[in-house]
Symmetry: C2
Subunit: 226 residues, 2 copies
DNA sequence: TAAAATTAAATGTTTAATGAAGTTAAAACA
DNA sequence: TGTTTTAACTTCATTAAACATTTAATTTTA
C-alpha cells in the first residue's frame, strides 16, 4: 500500500494556444526519449517539491516560450493507469492563451507550432488533452472576451471575430458581434487604423482592464525572476 | 530530481453534498491520526496503482456512503507544497451530489453530516475545497437542473426551489422558477401529492431522463461490484 | 359541527432586455 | 464607376424579469 503511493509520478502538461497565420495553433515538442520517442507532445515536466501546480505550469511555460504574464488555467487532471505505457504518471493539465507577438520561441525541428486542425500523431493522451482545452476555451469565450489574449495587443474587430469563429467553429453575425464586443467593459477604441493591404482600413482596438468572469481562471502575475 | 518525483503522494478527496433538514450538508470524517488529529475533514484516500482518479473517488464515496450511481465530478487539483504539514500530498478533489434517502450512512461521532453554513474547523485546506465545490455547484445549477440530484426521487417544486435558493444563496421568484422548471426536458409530473403535515398538498414531480448540459460533468455509471 | 381564519399551492400578463436579421452609407482600391 | 470591407442604424422575435390573486386544504373558534 505504501509502495503503491510512492510509485506515482506527477507532472504538469500545458496546452499553449495562439493565433498565427489566421489559424489556431498549439505549441508542441518532439520527444527525444522513450516512450513515444520522436512523437510530438505538449510541453510538460515534473512538479518539483518546492513549487505548487500553478508554479510548475508557469515554469514549464516560461522555459518553452519565455512568456510569463498570460492567461493560464488549470484544465483537468488525467490519471488513467494506462496513459503512460511504462510507469504511473498522473498529469495535471493546464492551458495557456498567448499572443504570438509576445512569444520568443525559436522554433526548431523539435519545437514548433501546429495548427490544431492538422495535428500530427501525439504521444500519450495528449490529443484528448488538447481537445479538452479547446472545449474549455469555448466555454470561457461564452463567458468573457478572453479571445483577446490570443490576439495582438492592438487588433481589429474583424480579427477578433475571426478568432471567435475559429474557436467556436461556427460563423458569427458581424453586426451583432460588433455590437456585443463594443459594449464590453475594458475595450478601448484607438485612433489608429490597420494599414491593411487593401480596402477600407479598420479601426484598431485594445483591452484596458482585464476583467475575467471565469470562476476558475486566474491571471498569472509576473513572479520573481530568475 | 528523481527523488523529488518519488516523494509526492497523491490522494482524492470528496466533497459529498446533500440536503437534509432543509439545509445543505456536507459529509465529514473526524481524523484519528496526526496531522490534524480530531479535526474534521472531507473523506479521502490514496489513489491505488490500478485505478484511475474517477475510480478512486468512487471507491472512497462507496466506502463512506454505500452509494454508487450518482453525480460525481472532478473539481480541481490542489497541490500547494504546504497544504500538508508533514509530507507533499497533492489531492485531486471531487464533488458528489447525493440524495440523503439513498445514503446508508450510520453517522457516528467520527462520521457526520454538517451544515455547510456552520462548518467546524477543518483539516488541511478542506475549507477552501468545500467552498470551491459550492461555487462549482452554483455554476452547474445555472446550466442544468442538477439540483434534483440532491432531492428525493419524488419532490415538490417548492422543495426544488428551496434547494436552488440554498445553493445560489438568493431568493427566486416562484412563478418564474416554476415556469422554467416545468419547461425542462426530463421533468415528469406525477399524480401524487405530498402528504405534508398541513395545508394544501403539493404535486410531486420526478426526473426521467438525465440530461446534463455540463461539459465536465459525467454521470458515473454503476461499475463492477465487489 | 359549521363558519371563519390561516397557510401554502397554483397560475398569467405586462414590460424590459437581449438576440437575430435587414438596410444603407463610407472609405479605400481596381 | 464598380467592388469590397468597415461601419452604423433599424426592425422584428425571442427570452428574461417583475408582479398579485385565487384555490385547496387545515386549524381555529363560536
Amino acid at each position: 500500500m505504501f509502495n503503491e503511493v510512492k510509485t506515482h509520478e506527477i507532472t504538469v502538461d500545458i496546452v499553449i494556444l495562439t493565433i498565427k497565420n489566421n489559424s489556431l495553433n498549439v505549441l508542441l515538442v518532439k520527444r527525444n526519449n522513450e516512450p513515444f520517442k520522436d512523437k510530438w507532445a505538449i510541453p510538460g515536466g515534473y512538479v518539483r517539491m518546492s513549487e505548487n501546480l500553478d508554479e510548475a505550469a508557469m515554469r514549464v511555460l516560461k522555459e518553452k516560450t519565455n512568456v510569463e504574464n498570460i492567461y493560464l488555467e488549470q484544465l483537468y487532471t488525467f490519471g488513467d493507469p494506462l496513459r503512460h505505457p511504462v510507469s504511473r504518471v498522473i498529469t495535471c493539465a493546464y492551458f495557456a492563451l498567448i499572443r504570438s507577438e509576445d512569444v520568443e520561441v525559436v522554433t526548431t525541428d523539435d519545437l514548433a507550432w501546429h495548427k490544431v486542425s492538422e495535428l500530427p500523431p501525439l504521444a500519450f493522451d495528449h490529443k484528448e488533452i488538447i481537445e479538452y482545452s479547446l472545449k474549455r476555451t469555448r466555454e470561457r469565450l461564452e463567458m468573457c472576451p478572453v479571445a483577446y489574449q490570443l490576439l495582438n495587443e492592438k487588433f481589429t474587430l474583424t480579427e477578433m471575430q475571426k478568432a471567435y469563429e475559429m474557436i467556436m467553429e461556427k460563423k458569427l453575425d458581424k453586426r451583432n458581434f460588433r455590437k456585443k464586443v463594443i459594449s464590453t467593459e475594458g475595450l478601448r477604441e484607438l485612433n489608429e487604423f490597420s494599414k491593411s493591404s487593401s480596402k477600407r482600413p479598420a479601426r484598431l482596438y485594445t483591452f484596458d482592464n482585464i476583467k475575467l468572469n471565469s470562476k476558475r481562471a486566474h491571471f498569472i502575475k509576473k513572479g520573481t525572476k530568475g
